[in-house]
């Protein structure tokens, strides 16, 4: 039994060790630096990473040991887990000590105890009638909370400052555990919507979904509709806000929320948060018969190739052909205030393939078409008829966020308490001397900023001596 107790004690001592905390912090620093030196998967595109691996053999080994995703590696998780345990033990220990300190700090001291304090002095008063009041008055002016028991005085300032350190550690614990909880219960999905299009929150409608192992699927029958997209949105004050999507959230056929989402302006509804992401163009292509009737057609997504062109490849229904489109949204350049472009006179460079064989290539303006052959007895045309935007909105459900930010705010408060509310205590004892005079023995201490406290203590003594001199002269 004693062995088990000893083992528990040793484990507790190990985990609440401050040396362990320092070692773990140094390890966190080392791993974080490694993550800034070794290229990380989350920073570069997959293609870029593959190219780098071809050029640098060492990256392949780094990849094998998980160092190319070091912040989600078992090594980092392991260190963080140990750090979390260490923080929880330290927090518990510190809280216990702080509470003990708070409970024991109200005790009075006699002369013998006071003169052992690092800051101590004695002042003689010839007239003892008001000596107590003078000490109390001076200490109160210095914002001390003063208690008196007969000839003994105890004064304390910033008493609750002792709680700053445990509170800060509690916040670290809260932030780390909230990040862990948020990461495991988080869901993030991306919906690609053309203007006017609606998509549901069902999995098949997302083009990207990431769910943590603890995420619980709870569909709320929501539908997201992109009502309008503006790449150069101006807010009510006339400030450019960049790409913005006007989103309607529909539930059971009713619009429950409608708002514009853009950078620094989110939509929050029923635990989910919506962010503006990428955007691009959706040209409309129609297959028509001789009389102009539409056989088939749709808006297609064209992706930005980062050179001002947008690319799309799609099958042309019922013809067996594949269309490869390069869209130029601004052939007549219109520049808005602030250097932004707006689409004007868009054109497409259209290539049609029958298998590998190129059967047509040429440029089409809006409402232009090309005859591409016969379907049955009719000659059909394929043309470019409209241009809309598409927008990607990110839908995030992260239950850890309020706790993480709550932990942030609380930790800032706790740092403030920890360092700017240094607890100071002053004790005084009035002793009657044989010659009939009264001597005030006064001493004090502070947990932090001892030099500043020494200055303050000296001022208190000077003021006390000044009071005595006033008495003497009176």
């Amino acid at each position: 039994m004693d062995d088990i107790k000893q083992l528990i004690k040793n484990v507790s001592l190990f985990f609440r060790s401050r040396k362990l905390a320092i070692v773990l912090i140094i390890l966190i620093i080392a791993v974080t630096i490694l993550g800034t030196i070794i290229p990380q998967e989350h920073i570069y595109t997959h293609r870029h990473m593959e190219e780098m691996k071809e050029q640098n053999q060492y990256l392949i080994y780094m990849d094998m040991i998980g160092f190319t995703e070091i912040y989600t590696s078992w090594l980092f998780f392991g260190i963080m887990f140990l750090f979390l345990i260490n923080t929880s033990f330290c927090t518990f220990n510190m809280s216990r000590n702080a509470i003990r300190k708070l409970q024991s700090s109200g005790k009075f001291r006699g002369k013998d105890s006071i003169i052992k304090l690092q800051n101590n002095a004695s002042v003689s008063f010839n007239n003892n009638d008001s000596a107590n009041e003078k000490v109390i008055h001076i200490l109160r002016k210095k914002r001390y909370n003063v208690k008196q028991d007969g000839s003994k005085i105890f004064a304390v300032k910033n008493r609750f400052g002792v709680l700053g350190t445990p509170l800060f550690h509690l916040c670290i614990f809260l932030v780390i555990s909230s990040i862990a909880y948020g990461g495991m219960s988080r869901m993030e999905g991306k919906l690609q919507l053309a203007e006017g299009q609606s998509l549901t929150e069902q999995h098949q409608d997302y083009f990207y979904v990431s769910e943590g192992p603890l995420f619980k699927e709870q569909h709320k029958n929501l539908v997201f509709r992109l009502e309008k997209f503006d790449p150069y949105f101006k807010d009510d004050k006339g400030t450019y806000r960049g790409a913005a999507s006007k989103i309607a959230i529909v539930k059971d056929g009713l619009v429950v929320k409608r708002d514009v989402v853009h950078s620094n302006h989110l939509i929050v509804y029923d635990g989910i948060t919506i962010f503006q992401n990428e955007f691009g163009f959706s040209p409309l292509f129609l297959l028509k018969n001789e009389s102009g009737g539409v056989i088939s057609g749709s808006y297609v997504y064209a992706e930005d190739d980062e050179s001002g062109r947008y690319l799309s490849v799609f099958p042309v229904a019922e013809t067996g052909l594949t269309a490869q489109v390069t869209l130029y949204p601004n052939t007549s350049r219109v520049i808005l205030e602030g250097g932004y472009d707006i689409p004007k006179d868009p054109m497409v460079y259209l290539e049609l393939f029958n298998g590998q064989e190129l059967v047509f290539d040429g440029v089409l303006g809006m409402n232009q078409m090309v005859a591409i052959g016969d379907i049955g007895s009719e000659t059909v045309t394929f043309g470019f008829y409209d241009l809309k935007y598409w927008s990607i909105i990110s839908i995030v459900n992260d239950k850890g966020i309020p706790y993480i930010f709550g932990g942030f705010y609380l930790s800032l408060f706790s740092i403030f308490v920890m360092f700017f509310f240094s607890p100071s205590q002053v004790w005084a004892s009035l002793e009657q001397e044989d010659n009939g005079s009264t001597v005030i023995y006064i001493g004090g201490r502070s947990d932090r900023y001892k030099s500043s406290f020494k200055d303050e203590f000296n001022i208190i003594i000077t003021q006390l001596e000044g009071e005595e001199m006033k008495n003497g002269s009176a």
Binding site: I25, I26, S263, S394, I401, L412
Partner: protein
Amino acid sequence: MGQLEWVLYLTASSLYAISAVWYILSVAFKKEKWLRHGAISAALGILPHSLALYIRWVESGHGPYMTMHEVFSSYAWVSVAVFLLAIVKIKKVRIAGLVVMPIIFIMMGIGATLSTEIMEIPPSLSSFWLIAHVGFAKLTFGSILIGTGLAVIYLLKERKKPGSESMVQFLNRFPEKNILDELSYQFVTAGFLFLSVMIAAGAIWAYQTWGRYWAWDPIESWSLIAWLVYGIYLHQRLNAGWKGKKTAWLLVFAIFVLVFSLFGTGIVYEGLHTAYMV
């Protein structure tokens, strides 16, 4: 950059240089009263500097945090402002000018060599949280620079073999070592609080802009590293009883981490902040 702004910038730089020279001369020739001249030159320098920043702010329509020129200039301005406020409040701090003002002059010099072109602010940066983020970054640097300056003075006083007897006497006129140590601790503590606010504001801004509060971007990682290094400093002071020489050396090391985090990462790494490091 307009001609007036440039003239004001150069005037401020010159006055900061004069201030740095006064501080250095005061130690070299053991003239304590020259420290006052140094402080006055710094105070005179901040006037044209403020005007130059104001003109740029009006011209660009945004705060001085888009280009590296603006970054260096505004960091220097905040550091001088914090230093001047500190010496008004606590006279003992003025000796830190020996370290602070030469660094300010170097920052202004670097700022002068960088592109002074005005950049438009992208919509993602139009956020209250960004202003809080960069504002507290500047306050962090200003406070910690003074704290480190005091730590360097501490180390000068601590030297086992002082240059001469008169130098010892001169250094003895400045605050006691324990007071320097404690003042340094107080400035670094304030800097740590500002650094924490900077990181928290940055995380909130990133969440509102991109939907995530932390992406392990190199500049985020280095700000965390700087925070942890100063965390070690405070931890060791509070819990392990470290003070004096040990903590002074730790601060000298830590300022390099902070400087790299604030100025170096945007140059060395590709990431979120790289686009504006011109």
